[in-house]
Point group: C2
Chain length 200, copies 2
DNA sequence: GTCTATAATACGATAGAC
DNA sequence: GTCTATCGTATTATAGAC
């Protein structure tokens, strides 16, 4: 049977994703993943013959797809990409709060843990963040920023968000994310208006 | 003998600090720490009866002291705190590059790994980041920002730096940190000038 | 394809000789 | 105070029955 309502493979992937997000890569063991997903160990290695590392790479790719689509969706539904960004940040803050500050930054911890210690996972993280950066920069361009400014701003914005996630998780508070949203909204709006003036 | 040129205790602390910084908390084992610091296992548990967790807390406290002093020093030596911040960011970028993107964000990874899974270490991280935030906010106030603005800006700046460290480490490039420095310099200078105008 | 039992190894921590 | 040998218990991964 290669198909069910939710395949066992997806069940493993989902559980792993959640655990990597809340605990990090090294603190999450295969035993915990199979226990919480209710899948026997043998099946796990049948679906993921490359073990924990292969699982992590696939989980990151799935996460990447999900959050890039989400970001694109939010930015498209709002004609003002700056307002959309602030909304996105507040949305993450809400998710952080709801989960007891365990979930809300799906890649942050794993990316840092593996940046210089696991080449395959690091590559997956680079692709994931690269994709996010591309989506955001694209929307900023559509919104009046020059390509160079949009690219540089995207980096700064994403860095702010990742750092905000770090602080909100560390202090168990949505405040850092809220302050970030307000600051970005203010700064970016001014910066964009300036950019638009130069064009006309 | 409780005193040498560099006590064994400090040697352990230093090695642990470096390994936690580059690999994270969970990926760093006691065995590796004692091996690289050249201290027998028995001695380790003599000096750190609370084991790995106690060691981490002490390492974070030592790190906190070091980077807060460094930040204070840099901000004091420069009469313009905004320029000082940009210099600080470029200094971190240089250290990241020199160490192959292994060192440069001493707390970032550990803080995320333990945010919701280890209360003692999380508290140590809160204190460390709180101290940094206080130092930075103080200098921004001296530099013309209102207390409220200074506090909120400090959060945003530190978040940007932590996120910048994440991206520079992930992409093995100083570019994210360089872009961040430029953006902050520009944005903060404008914001400060506006704040000063409102006073007069 | 599915699952259990187990291998091989590493972990943090300790006991006890010196 | 200093160090070695070792204890349980984790870990990832596999072998082999069904």
């Amino acid at each position: 049977m290669s198909c069910e309502t939710v395949s066992k493979r997806d069940q493993i992937l989902r559980t792993a994703w959640r655990l990597f997000e809340s605990q990090g890569y090294h603190a999450t063991g295969i035993n915990q993943i199979i226990k919480e997903s209710g899948v026997p160990k043998g099946s796990f290695y049948h679906y993921f013959p490359e073990g924990k590392e292969g699982l992590a790479v696939e989980a990151i790719e799935a996460i990447s797809e999900g959050i890039s689509n989400k970001l694109d969706e939010v930015c498209t539904s709002q004609d003002d990409s700056v307002v959309a960004m602030a909304g996105m940040i507040r949305h993450i803050a809400q998710r952080l709060e709801e989960t007891g500050y365990r979930e809300g930054g799906p890649l942050t911890t794993v990316a840092l843990e593996t940046a210089t210690t696991n080449e395959r996972i690091n590559e997956a993280c680079q692709q994931a963040y690269g994709k996010l950066h591309g989506v955001l920069a694209g929307h900023l361009e559509e919104d009046g920023f020059t390509p160079d400014d949009a690219a540089e701003l995207s980096t700064t914005i994403l860095a702010g968000i990742e750092g905000g996630i770090l602080f909100s998780r560390t202090f168990h508070s949505t405040r850092p994310m809220e302050q970030l949203a307000r600051q970005l909204e203010e700064t970016l709006t001014r910066q964009r208006n300036q950019a638009r003036e130069q064009v006309t």
